[in-house]
């Protein structure tokens, strides 16, 4: 094959692979570009080029990295593969992959560098699309698993929390039918009232939870933790003063959050009043609330010195509906369930650590990345 034909083939191969080749002579400080390299750089073929011409086309945000790469190449006599952006004179931005070999003389000094430069803009864009699609799928899967879990919870709730009051009603009804005195009937009637009011509470909670799920697109506002806590304290001020509770807080790490106001208030109200409600009889309740940033997410913790919960025994049902863990007249088992539903509907999570007779820590991790809508 003659030289001309070889050159034609090379040029053809470069065109379809969107690759150009170049040579830099370190001694004479001259550079030589192939026709297709000129095309990639958006320059007329055979334009006068120097080594600086290349650097002038490197994207400003990548220039430091490219210069560092250059220094390393000269220092180590090795050209590592390099991917960076270039910016053409007309403003077009491309992504290129540069590969090269170094030729050295007998003393180990660099004579010249011969390399290729491939335009991988489209490749990167497709890659990006795949990554994006994968991320969207992950979000969608999380969303669906969340909904699945909620449906399971619902089935569980209707089985447990609706069946038992209804079976109580049936038993009461039977006793009512066979009752003989007015006194008995009156007593039974009181029991009916208790069950019905319990059933009403359960249904209201379920409706509350259903609402939570439907309003997935809430109006978010910037809220100050300090304000929310102040409001919570006002609502339960009687309980606080009645129990000599000490409530301290430190929101200095991250004083604000973009969140749904009603939910955040409800989270604070439930967790703070729980901490006071389940206090130890041996000491005044102390609650410390603070925020931190962990892996870019806001972490809110409520630490108390109360009764604590045996999580080995009860951990799996801590956030279930109508689950109670203390022989406490006010324990209804509604608060933590709703709190969890609200937090999860906003993409966050809640968990607890606890030691019996020492106290509990409830931790809320808010999801900061939820601005991206699932598909």
């Amino acid at each position: 094959m003659n030289c001309c034909k070889k050159k034609y083939l090379l040029n053809f191969a470069e065109k379809i692979t969107m690759t150009g080749n170049w040579q830099t002579n370190v001694i004479t400080k001259t550079v030589k570009w192939s026709a297709n390299f000129y095309r990639i750089m958006g320059l007329e073929e055979n334009t006068e080029v120097t080594f600086n011409t290349y650097l002038e086309h490197v994207h400003p945000e990548d220039i430091e990295r490219v210069k560092l790469h250059q220094q390393n190449t000269l220092k180590n006599n090795k050209f590592e593969d390099l991917v960076h952006r270039i910016k053409l004179q007309d403003g077009t931005v491309k992504i290129v992959r540069v590969r090269a070999n170094i030729n050295v003389n007998e003393f180990g000094d660099i004579i010249d560098i011969i390399g290729t430069c491939q335009d991988i803009t489209e490749q990167k864009a497709s890659e990006q699309k795949i990554i994006q699609a994968k991320e969207n799928l992950i979000v969608l899967t999380q969303h669906l698993s969340g909904q699945n879990k909620q449906l399971e919870d619902f089935a569980h709730i209707s089985s447990h929390n609706l069946r038992s009051p209804v079976s109580n009603l049936n038993a009461l009804l039977h006793l009512y039918r066979i009752s003989e005195t007015e006194e008995e009937r009156e007593e039974l009637f009181e029991k009916f009232e208790t069950v019905i009011s319990h059933l009403t509470t359960t249904l209201n909670t379920l409706i509350e939870a259903l609402k939570t799920k439907k309003e997935c697109e809430k109006e978010l506002e910037i809220l100050e933790f300090d304000h929310i806590l102040r409001k919570t304290k006002e609502i339960i001020s009687q309980k606080i003063s009645g129990t000599n509770a000490i409530i301290t807080s430190d929101f200095s790490k991250t004083p604000k959050i973009k969140y749904d106001k009603t939910y955040l208030e409800s989270i604070f109200l439930n967790l703070v009043s729980n901490a006071v409600k389940y206090r130890s009889p041996n000491r005044a309740p102390e609650v410390h609330i603070k925020t931190e940033i962990i892996d870019g997410k806001i972490k809110l913790t409520f630490q108390d010195n109360g009764l604590g919960i045996d999580l080995k025994k009860h951990g799996h049902k801590l956030f279930g509906l109508n689950k109670t863990f203390h022989r406490h007249p006010e324990a209804k088992g509604v608060g933590l369930y709703l709190t969890k539903v609200q937090i999860e509907s906003m993409g966050g999570k809640i968990y607890a650590t606890s030691e019996v007779n020492k106290g509990s820590v409830f931790t809320v991790i808010f999801n900061e990345n939820r601005h991206e809508e699932p598909l």
Partner: protein, 137 residues
Amino acid sequence: MKNLYNICVIDDDKIYQFTISKTIKVYDLANEILIFSDGEEALDFFIKNIDNTKDLPDIILLDINMPIMDGFQFMEEYIKLKPRVGKKILIYMVSSSVDPSDIRRAEMISEISDYIIKPIEPGELVEIVESFRRNIS
């Protein structure tokens, strides 16, 4: 002979406690009715009265979901205690849970005679006492 047996109810539901004891009384099914609101209360009673065989229940109606110590946790403790119990005790799990995993779990425990889904009908209660009587004689 009637009214020889002690029936023990372990359930945190106050209304259920009321209806079940009322039913037991109306149908005259027990000598003594013992009511506990969770497994731990019942267990404490067992430990205290382990040697007073006649005060111990003959039949236990045990709920699953309770605070402090639930029905399954109670069974774990009861099995440890069983060798020291000087009489035959029939245990029925009585729950409003229709969760197959609860039912399967109860079936796995040989000390549990049966799983009854609430509401427990008076007829079923009579049958339980009858079967206990047959069993003992």
